[in-house]
Every structure is written in C-alpha cells, then in structure tokens.
C-alpha cells in the first residue's frame, strides 16, 4: 500500500479548476480513489450530478483520463459497456491481449442508491472488471438537497421538510454497502474522505481485483449539510468517530472493520455542526434526537457483529 510520499508523487487525474463548491467532498473522494489506482490506465464514467456537471463544462474537461457521462441512472451500465468493448476488441485482435485497462464509474447517492440501483446491481452481478464508486452526500444535492434513500433519519431536506407536522426525514437510510456485498462480488468497502490512508488502500484493493468492486464513500456537502466549507474533513471524521459511518471492507465475502472505534463519540457531535439537523436540538425533539442515536447504534452493532463473524 502506498504511503503519503508515494501518493503525493502520483499524477492527479482530476485536475483543479473544476466548478465544484469550496469544501465539496466529491472531488476529494475522486482524487483519493484515482491516486489509489496508481498508474493503472483508466476509463472513467460518471452519473449525471454535481461531479459531472462541474467537471465537464464544454469545451473543458477536468478529466485527464478518458471519460464518459451518459445519464443519471446508468453510469454502471455505461462503464460495463466500455469494459465489454475492451474485451470484444481484444477478441477481435484490435487491442493487444496483454494490454491492461481498468474501468471506474462514479455516482452520487441519488444516482446509486435510488435511480441507478438496478443498473449497478446488474453490472455487479455480471462480473465486469470495474470499480463503482458512490460518493454519498446523503441527498440529491445537484437539484437542491432533496431526500434520497441515503439521507439519514431525522435530516432536513427540501423534500423532507421540517414543520409542525414533520421533523425531517422519517425513514432510516438504506444500507447500500451491504446490499452490494450480498452480490458476492470480490471487493466491497465503505470509506470516508477523512481517513485518506484507509480510503486509498481500499481503492488500491478495488482496482487490484479482477472483477467488480464497490466503494461507498462518505462525502460531506457544505451546501446540503449546512456546514462550513473548511469543516468538510472534520465532519467526515465525526461521521466515523460517532459510529454513523463505520469503515469496513468485504473481501471475497470476509467482513472486516478497517477502523475500530476505541471510544465512540455521541451522535450529537456529528449532528450539531450541521444545519440540516438543527431542529433535532429543540427541546421538544429530545425523543427524536434519542432515536437518531438508537438508529446509529443499531446499524453500527449490525456491522460490528457482521465483521466479528468474518
């Protein structure tokens, strides 16, 4: 696994100058993933969303590697097609048999957990040699902070409003990482941009396997989370240290917690700096706040137990 000195010497394949917001977690995730890929030749794809619209404004492109955007729900299917073309062209003798190229698809949580789930599931099941990376910022941020199935329980969103009759999202978030692990693909991991070493190691493993790999990366969104741009990494770290976002991997079916919490912080520390949770701190919502902790405990316990089984 590469150390920070080696990583810093690698070429950045997503150049600066793109139009993502200050403090956006998505580009940090992409750069860490691509650094983890090392020198491997890559074709990248991206679902419609913030990352795509901000990095490919015609006639510019931030991508220093071949790139394709097709639509919102199909970056997995699209990249699976690119990978299939690579195999077909090899079979035709138009690409040398020993040439190595890897394929990576990016999508936000809306494009992955929700509208792109079928496309992702299909691509994973078919066994394409590709890495799918979800940058999970917990809502449809590109269209203006609408709730997705990744939005945490109790969070405010523009389609899960806060008012007399409702206090933000009433459903728990979907555990997509476990869903993809259930596909039995060679490598699945959950990571956070705050834990760069853990993330780049996971990316390196994901690109090293033959077959499909999946990374689910927590990427705070200052606009949607109502946080300060300079606090992005700190917030991402709190997601991990409060147990909201456990870091683990599933290698050939073996579950491992890659970062174990010696001392877990209360969920309030993750919620408090975020404007999307501010209603939870009203006295009348004390019970709701407690149930957010219960929900975090439930998910963390599930992941810990699952990892304890190996």
């Amino acid at each position: 696994m590469a150390n920070i000195k080696e990583l810093s010497a690698r070429e950045d394949r997503l150049s600066g100058g793109h139009r993502l917001c200050a403090g956006c977690g998505a580009s940090i995730a992409v750069r860490q993933v691509l650094l983890g890929a090392g020198e491997t030749p890559l074709v990248a794809g991206c679902a419609t969303g913030c990352l795509e619209v901000s990095t490919t404004i015609y006639p510019y492109s931030s991508w220093k590697t071949p790139f394709i955007h097709n639509a919102f729900e199909n970056s997995a299917a699209t990249i699976s097609g690119v990978e299939a073309a690579f195999k077909g062209l090899k079979a035709a003798g138009k690409i040398p048999a020993d040439k190595r190229v890897k394929f990576v698809a990016f999508g936000g949580d809306g494009g992955t957990y929700d509208i792109g789930l079928q496309s992702l599931s299909g691509a994973m099941e078919r066994g394409h040699d590709m890495v799918y990376v979800c940058y999970d910022n917990g809502a449809y941020m590109n269209t203006g902070i609408q709730r997705s199935s990744a939005t945490p329980f109790g969070a405010w969103a523009t389609t899960a409003e806060v008012g007399k009759a409702q206090q933000g999202k009433t459903q728990r978030r979907k555990d997509l990482t476990s869903i993809i692990a259930a596909h039995g693909v060679p490598y699945v991991a959950q990571a956070s941009i705050s834990h760069w070493k853990d993330l780049t190691n996971k990316a390196e493993k994901a690109f090293a396997v033959e077959g499909p790999a999946f990374l689910n990366i927590l990427t705070p969104c200052p606009r949607g989370w109502r946080t300060k741009p300079e606090s992005t990494i700190e917030i991402a770290k709190l997601a991990v240290t409060t147990g909201f976002w456990p870091l683990f991997e599933v290698e050939d079916g073996v579950w491992t917690q890659t970062v174990k919490l010696r001392e877990r912080k209360p969920i309030e520390e993750f919620l408090k700096p975020q404007g999307r949770f501010k209603h939870l701190f009203k006295p009348e919502n004390a019970e709701l706040l407690a149930s957010v902790q219960t929900e975090v405990d439930r998910y963390l316990t599930y992941i810990e137990k699952r990892c304890a089984c190996g």
């Binding site: 071949p66 073309a85 079928q118 691509a123």
Partner: protein
Amino acid sequence: MAEQKTVAATGNIMVAEAMRQCAPDMMAAYPITPQTTIVEEFAKFVAQGRVHTEYVTVESEHSAMSACVGASAAGARVMTATSSQGLAYMWEELHIAAGLRLPIVMANANRALAAPINIHCDHSDIMGARDTGWVIYFAETAQEAYDNTIMALRVAEHPDVMLPVMSTLDGFITTHSIDRAELMDDETVKAFVGDYVPENALLDIEHPTSHGNFAGLGGPYFEFKKSQRNAIDRSMGVIKEVGAEWSEITGRPFDVIEGWGMEDAEYVIIAIGSTAGNVRHVARELRAEGIKVGVLKVRVFRPFPFSEIADAIKGAKAVAVLDRSESFGAEGGPLFLEVRSALYDYDVRPAMVNYIYGLGGADVKLDLIRRVYSDLADIADGVAEPSGLVYLGAR
C-alpha cells in the same frame, strides 16, 4: 452478383445472421417478445464460437442501450435488438446515442405498446421513437430485414453520418413467419461492411477525450443539434449509395420508397412494413380488372423521403395512407402527417385519406384493402368526400 444461398428462415433468424456476418465487437441483449429469437440465435453463435462478440446479458433495455452507448463510445462496433416496451424503456438512451453520434445498429421487432398489454404487431413503438435522431428502416419481408440490417451498419458508420440506425421488422408477421430468403456468403458481407475505424474512442487511452459533456450555461447545445440535423439530412444520400452498392452485389433492387404500378396509378395506397405485401396482392387483382391502382411502400422513414414521395404521388387522383400507429390528438397517424406535409409545396395535390389499421395485430384482411381502393375511387369520382381519419376494420 455474389454467390447466395436460398434459405427458409424467419425474419428474426435473418437479422441474427446479418448481425453475425457484421461481426459486432459487443452486443447487449435483453429478451422481449417478439424480438427474443434474435438474441437467442446470437447467443448460439457466441456459444459455438462463431463470433468474437462480447455478449452482455443486461438486466433491462435501459441498461442494454446504456451499455451500447458506453461500448460504442469506447470504439467498438455495437449491435442490439429490442421491441415495444423495451424500446420505450430505452427512450432516454435513444436520444443520447444519437446526440453522442454513436453508430449503433439496433433491430426492432415492431409491436404494440401497453395499455392494454398486447404483444402483436403495430408501429406504436417505433413511431414513438421517430424523433429520437435515429435513421429508421422498415422491412416488408425477412429478406428486407436482412438487407436493411447489413446496409444499416454501413450507413451508421459512414463518416458523413455517424448516427445510430434502426432496422425494424413487423412483430410476428415478419419476425416469426418462415420466408424464402437469400443469405449472402460471410466473406462478401465482411468485405461490404468493412472495418470500423472509430474516432476519439475512449479506449484510445493515450489520447484521452471526454464524452457527454455538459453543454448548458449558454454552451453550444443548439449548435450540436444543428450538426445532428445536418448529419441525418446527409444520411439520405448515403442510404441511397449504400443501397445501390448492396443492390449491385445481391441483385435485389433498393430504394427509400418502392412503387408498384405507380407509373399511371390513379388510386394509390401508401403503406409501410409487412402490409405492403397485402396491398400489392390486392393491387394486382384490381389491375387485372383494369383499375389503375398503385402501391407505394416506404422503406426508410427517417430521414423521411419527402420529395421522393411527393413526386411519386402527385399525379394520382386519390391517395390513402395506412398508419399502423396512432398520433393521438393529431390530424392523423405519423405516416399520414409526413406524406401530407410532403405535398404542401406542390400545386396539384391529390385527395388524401388516412386509415389507422391493424393496431395490436388486428388482422389486415384483403377485403379491407379492397375497401380502401374502392373508397379512393369514390372520392376521385366525387361520389364520396374524403372522410378524415378512418379506423379501418375496427369493430
């Protein structure tokens, strides 16, 4: 003329054979009645090692076309097939394939759209896709489905075109009926379609390009669309050139419209797809009785052969346009709207009637065709007025 083998085969088998001979690098397959036997037959070719194609069994038609877009942008020769609800499910991707200027070839087994659900032939699916930017061929027979599929690839990959092309055939009537057809030898087809040399391919790793960029914010979206319009306009010449070349090899005539008895026809029926055969059969009988009837078959619907059709029918006394699909709320079916529009600039315009027929596989009996010719004669003789849109044979 090259050596050809006479076979008894369904339209779908002929399409699968054409695809095998075109040797795509990638095919995305998802089953839907009545397209299924195309992808099944191709799966056999894969299993037998007769093709080098990477065969991707996707989980939906949306992913089929999405994967085709990825593969075509990657630089591969790409083919697929679908029908009906599957084509409708692909709708978003049909636009993207055309907008990204990807020369994908797809067969469509023309079938009704739900609701109510119906698996039989009409043109609701393909006519719903008529403005997606694809070049669209219609086949009357298994032979035409075969020829169209091979020509489609040449047109799609032509540097002046670079657009996706659909080769369509009528569900069950053409897809599943066994027909006599001539199968060209593999080498001739291989030489005819040639090698595909892509530009700006994703797999040209050393020369990275970005595809599908954001062209909003005052970007050149409008100009991209203009260039797409220019390309489909240019495709008309290419379709004719390629058709003439294939015709030379096969000995089978080709044109974007095909007339029968049109030289002096007074009463003309315009049809598309398999029904053209029924109409010709009736027309022969009526000619034997001395009635000057003609048949005009439209073989290429996009780009639409406006001037060709207008020139062919301008001398007629009355024209009936048969539409096997609806354009609800419009003046008539899609073919009628185009044909009528084609005549606008002409001084002499024949009376014209629109018949909607055969939806959901409703039978197109010869008596119905005879009735249409008889209506045309009445209109021409001033015995009857053109009656607007008629649901031909509906109970």
